[in-house]
Amino acid sequence: MTPLLAAAVAEGVIFYPLAILTLAGAFTMILSRNPVYAAMSLVLTFFGIAAIYVLLSAELLAALQIIVYAGAIMVLFLFVIMLLNITEAEMGKQRITVGAVVGGAVALVFWMLSYTVFEGLPNQEMPTQLAANFGEVVGVGRILFTQFILPFEATGILLLVAIVGAVVVAKAKI
């Protein structure tokens, strides 16, 4: 699976349109006035990122990305958007303030800095021959249950606490 994918010359042909699609979704998210449109374009971005995970031979993470992000988290977002039923007036006008301009400038400077650092890296080609079970359920699961068993258990406790906390916080009367 993996060497086959890496050997395909098509990786670049797939990657660059996919990257443009992903960035377009992110830009639409930040620019849209309606939160529902923002959530929908974020779903597009998450699907694009999942496809990029497949290109990186991370099949398990791609599946998790679609199930957890594009599925569960975005459904939660849409549910909250529709539950709150925010009108235009309550949402507050999106004005171009000094803070917004400074924020955009900070983000731009961050992007330029990180891009400079990444361009300064030695031009590394991706290896075409990967380890057995790389990125598949068996490979990732083996690492999770040996090397990272303590964080894995802590993640279970974290999710339990988050579920209970979310129910308590969102309850009508605390």
Binding site: A7, V9, E11, G12, T22, L23, A26, F27, M29, I30, T45, F46, I49, I52, L56, A58, L61, V68, Y69, A72, I73, L76, F77, V80, I81, I86, E90, M91, Q94, G99, A100, G103, V106, A107, L108, F110, W111, S114, F118, L121, Q124, E125, M126, P127, A131, F134, G135, V140, I143, P151, F152, T155, L158, L159, I163, G165, A166, V169, A170, I174
Partner: protein, 102 residues
């Protein structure tokens, strides 16, 4: 072989992170701010997986797994807080929700 070099994956990740950062800094709607945070977490995941493939070491995959789990917990808690804030203040504009105690 004609693979996409590591730097291009990292450039995509940094662009996604910058857009998420801009969303957090610019947007006043708390929902959009949360979406920006999600975008930044995803950008970090892209970086982890790109390095994992480049170094041929699947440990980055487990880190990305943990990031996804923490993001799910963060989204649940954050949206619950948003609902609670909207119930008491009737707004989710972060400029108007500026008191910790009232």
């Amino acid at each position: 072989m004609n693979t996409v070099p590591l730097a291009h994956y990292l450039a995509l990740a940094s662009a996604l992170f910058a857009i998420g950062l801009a969303a957090v800094l610019i947007r006043r709607n708390a929902l959009l701010i949360f979406m920006g945070v999600e975008l930044m977490l995803n950008a970090a995941n892209v970086t982890f997986l790109a390095f994992a493939r480049n170094l041929n070491d699947a440990a980055g995959h487990s880190i990305a797994f943990f990031v996804i789990a923490v993001a799910a917990a963060e989204a649940a808690i954050g949206l619950a807080i948003l609902i609670a804030v909207f119930r008491t203040r009737n707004t989710i504009n972060v400029d108007e929700v500026d008191a910790l105690k009232y």
